[in-house]
């Protein structure tokens, strides 16, 4: 691809930083702030776009693992049984080959996520105590790993209080430490 995406993003950054931003009225604080945010977003996008498929694929894998673990642990009344069955059916219906785009993969993550939400709510409606205990640990384990992935993914925003302790995007994408 010529020109490639890196090239075009870098040209956008240069245009805003060197030509557009200096031309903004110094009294127009909102426009100045917007220009700085455009540059910030473009720089962050530049660290992410080429890895977006792997990121979304990892998010999908984690959601599927959580879903399978919850379905295996689910015990309870009618709400738990029906939502567990719906989740199991969705898992069984997953294609053997996922779509080749980040947004395509994300659609499956979202679909499973809604059913995971339903099972969590069902657990608190008529889940057995053992399921409730297991669910807490499974969701917290998922939450820890997936949230850490997301913090690394967005670390370039500079707002994470522990930003210095987070690893790199490249390491996160291949490490087992963030897999559920």
């Amino acid at each position: 691809m010529l020109p490639d995406i890196d090239n075009r993003i870098n040209n956008l950054i240069k245009a805003v930083e060197k030509t557009i931003a200096p031309a903004i009225d110094p009294e127009n604080g909102l426009a100045q702030e917007q220009a700085a945010l455009v540059v910030g977003h473009l720089k962050m996008l530049n660290t992410q776009w080429d890895k977006a498929y792997l990121f979304e694929r990892g998010s999908f894998d984690n959601m599927v693992s959580l879903a399978r673990q919850l379905a295996a642990a689910a015990e309870g009344g009618q709400h738990v049984v029906s939502t567990k069955d719906a989740l199991a059916a969705q898992l069984d219906a997953l294609p053997t080959e996922l779509p080749p785009t980040p947004s395509g993969v994300n659609k499956y993550t979202i679909a499973i996520g809604y059913l995971v939400d339903d099972l969590i709510n069902a657990c608190y409606t008529d889940g057995r105590p053992a399921f409730k205990t297991a669910l807490a640990e499974l969701v917290l384990n998922y939450g820890e790993k997936q949230a850490t992935r997301e913090r690394i993914w967005f670390n370039a925003n500079g707002l994470d209080p522990d930003k210095a302790k987070l690893g790199s995007i490249d390491d996160m994408l291949v490490s087992d430490a963030y897999r559920v």
């Binding site: 945010l37 959601m63 996520g113 669910l135 997936q146 949230a147 850490t148 707002l159 209080p161």
Partner: protein, 380 residues
Amino acid sequence: MLLIEPRVQYITERKAAKRKHGPYYPRTITHTEAALLRLFGARGFKNIQVSGLKRMTGGASKEQFAFWLSHDQAPEKKRYILRMDPLEGITETCRLREAQVLRAVADVVPVPPVFDVDPEGEYLGQPGLLIEFVSGVTKPTDPSITGISGIGSNCGRYTDLLAPQFVENLTKIHSWTDWSNKDLSAYVIPRANTNEAALYQLNGWALTWAQDKVEPVPMITFVENWLRDNAPLCEVPCLVHCDYRLGNFMFEEPSGKITTILDWELAHFGDFHEDIAWILQKLFGGWNDKGEFLVCNLMPRDKFLEDYQRLSGRTINLKTLRYYEVMNAWKCAIMDLGSAIMAGQNCNSHQDLLITWVGSTGAVFLNQMVELIRGQKHVA
């Protein structure tokens, strides 16, 4: 019956109904001046002169403008601030509630006097609040200062001057009980010795998540249930500011005297632990030269807790504190991963870029919830 404050339910549902009218664009000066003239005309003012109207920077949720006003009933010009809602933003709050609480606490702590309120945007186009301009700064006028709306700001030599006033004003807010003769009709006061204080908050934010959820987030769903299961009793509900931190008060330079406490939009009646937990958030603090974490960049955690208890006469229950630390992280996750992203997707804020930038911190709060529920540590 689901416990939810009627006004909170109304404005949350109003936002959902209005979001289809987007995209929202920042208001121009011309548009804003016309809106102000419409409002003042409806109030019966004559010879209205609006001058020096300009947009104020800072803040992610409201459009703010400063201007001078004179009219037949007040010929000497005076400076005011207009706070207006965009179509949607990182939080949906109520200008009527904000006006009521500001008027109610005017004799309790320093707050900007309310000049007018247009709760439905009948004249301004969008809901808006007008307050008198108060002099002061939200952070030292030092070129090395950075951060969004005070987040992560450093107070330098002002730290020791601000810290005791910060705690004292907080205790005044929590100790205030003389509200029976105030118009607080847009609020509900939870019953003492019940868990209503927690449930009103929980149900309000759960409605926000139900409306603003862009993608399912299992941790948010799980924690909502956890919060419902663990809602603590509140012996004596009090006024809670709910965004009390560095950046949300102004002070004079060089005296360091706090002149006004700002941003009451999230204020409600509830459990004082909610404010304490909010103030302790790592996001609002920083580390000093000795590597010591400072709450709101002002004082170490233990000193803050000790000073608060000594001045207020209250005892902090660590289990309740942890509960509200979880709730606050959950609320922040809803703001970041729900409302901010939804508003950004709809292009319905004047600050789409800023709120999606802030929204990308949502996972910080998910991690905090994990650590807090596992009991590994407090947030700060």
